[in-house]
């Protein structure tokens, strides 16, 4: 029997543009003489790194990866892409969101999201996202990808964030 992998809840484009992507802690990269980037991803069992996986990015991905520094926002990267590659806003936004999504699905980047605007759909969206993250965390713990301490700490912080968001309230309309 096959189970379809559950997709994380979508983030609204408006919130995505205000977000800042950052490389997941532990993910490193090396650059060759032509500026091509190879990502080095530690594969862990518990808190022990058992091997390292390498992913080679293409010329465009390499340039964009170097902009993912946790300081440059999604929107700023779009503006940079627009002038670097001579493309339009729309092309930059779509290409970057596809690239970021591909990296985020593989847990190679994290998105620092701006807080949801109270009373809007963004609150509900964030609640769904946090609940999904708790499920993922449980899965990782069950499969011994993270230790008990990390699991408990992360779960507590997610639950605290959920409580805060529930206080802000769900959208009125």
């Amino acid at each position: 029997m096959f189970f379809k992998k559950q997709k994380p809840p979508a983030i609204s484009p408006e919130r995505l543009y205000r977000s800042t992507p950052v490389a997941t802690p532990g993910v490193e990269y090396e650059e060759d003489s032509k500026g091509m980037v190879t990502l080095i991803i530690p594969i862990k069992e518990g808190d022990k790194v058992v091997r390292k996986m390498k992913i080679k990015l293409d010329a465009i991905g390499s340039k964009v990866w170097k902009k993912i520094d946790g300081k440059t926002s999604f929107n700023e990267i779009c503006q940079w892409m627009k002038s670097e590659f001579l493309i339009t806003d729309k092309e930059a936004e779509v290409s970057l969101s596809m690239f970021i999504k591909m990296l985020a699905d593989r847990r190679l980047v994290l998105l620092i999201l701006p807080p949801p605007k109270p009373g809007t759909e963004e609150v509900q969206e964030e609640l769904e996202r946090l609940r999904f993250e708790i499920k993922e965390l449980e899965k990782a713990y069950r499969k011994k990808r993270i230790d008990e301490k990390t699991y408990k700490e992360a779960r507590a912080s997610y639950e605290e964030a959920i409580k805060e968001l529930e206080k802000i309230g769900r959208p009125s309309g």
Partner: protein, 300 residues
């Protein structure tokens, strides 16, 4: 308003605020449709239908009938959700020199629907503008309605997609398109076929392939080949930094022949690779060069 960008698509031109984008489009020969959304909701819908060459719409297609029929359809749709439609104002406005019948009405949101006949192009139009709660109708009438162009004195239509603008002779109709981000393909037809394809990230992509020829072997979509009845890459010749091909195509037993012409070039200033194809009578083949010369990039 400075923060506006121009849409030139399917024989219509209009403008909308930056950040909005065309999310749906259709038709090409006898009808056209385009929908423009802001980041959160649908803002503009515009459609047209060809009418008889005499320029007179049939009674069923008169502007007031078209607008009222549209509002009635919305009323039926909204009734299921227990929402009412309220007509706020009926009036007339001017669109591209034509008198348009307009109705301001409120359903889910306040909407301005208007319709007009363009006798220069023998078309009947219906446009809807969906207002935001804080948006004033007068503002829309200032920047949106006057921006609509349904006919021009020129012999071509402007097409604009992802910042790339080019001119297509008016008698050529958009027959097929695949509007993938960064890699759009459009095929126009009349008595000849014109195919236009381009790819962004040219510098970076070419650094992988090494040459335009190697790129052409892998990256030109099959639909382009199909439109011009095949493209033998091995026959491409390198001339003035462009790959080109020109060959006769025999058309069955009649002994007639068509000309197939292809040009592929890397525009380093625009960081794009363009591919143009032509299949048709030899005497019209200069169209391809005219289209090539008309290409400009106007980022938003």
């Amino acid at each position: 308003m400075e923060n506006l960008e121009r849409v030139c698509w399917l024989e219509v031109e209009l403008q909308h605020p930056k950040g909005w984008s065309m999310t749906a489009e259709g038709g090409g020969t006898t009808s056209g449709y385009l929908k423009i959304d802001s980041r959160t909701r649908t803002k503009i819908e515009l459609k047209w239908n060809k009418i008889s060459a005499k320029g007179e719409a049939k009674i069923g297609l008169q502007p007031p009938v078209l607008v009222n029929r549209f509002i009635e359809e919305q009323e039926r749709r909204l009734k299921k959700r227990k929402l009412k439609v309220e007509v706020l104002e009926k009036s007339s406005i001017e669109v591209c020199g034509h008198k348009a019948y307009s109705v301001r009405w409120r359903g889910e949101v306040e909407t301005l629907s208007f319709s007009w006949i363009c006798r220069e192009e023998f078309k009947i139009f219906l446009a809807n503008y969906y207002l935001e709660p804080n948006e004033k109708l007068e503002d829309v009438e200032t920047w949106f309605v006057p921006s609509i162009i349904c006919h021009t004195p020129e012999s071509y239509w402007r097409y604009r997609l992802f910042g790339v603008e080019f001119k297509i002779p008016k008698e050529y109709k958009l027959h097929y398109r695949k509007l993938a981000i960064g890699k759009p393909l459009m095929v126009f037809k009349n008595n000849a076929t014109l195919a236009i394809y381009w790819s962004y990230f040219a510098r970076e992509i070419l650094s992988n392939y090494g040459s335009l020829f190697q790129w052409s072997k892998k990256e030109i979509p099959g639909e382009f080949d199909k439109a011009i009845r095949g493209l033998n890459r091995d026959k491409l010749k390198l001339e003035e930094e462009r790959l080109s091909l020109e060959e006769k195509v025999h058309t069955g037993f009649s002994g007639g022949s068509l000309l197939k012409k292809v040009i592929i070039w890397h525009d380093s200033n625009l960081n794009k690779i363009f591919v143009l194809g032509y299949l048709g009578p030899k005497e019209n083949s200069e169209l391809l060069d005219n289209i090539r010369k008309s290409i400009v990039f106007k980022p938003d």
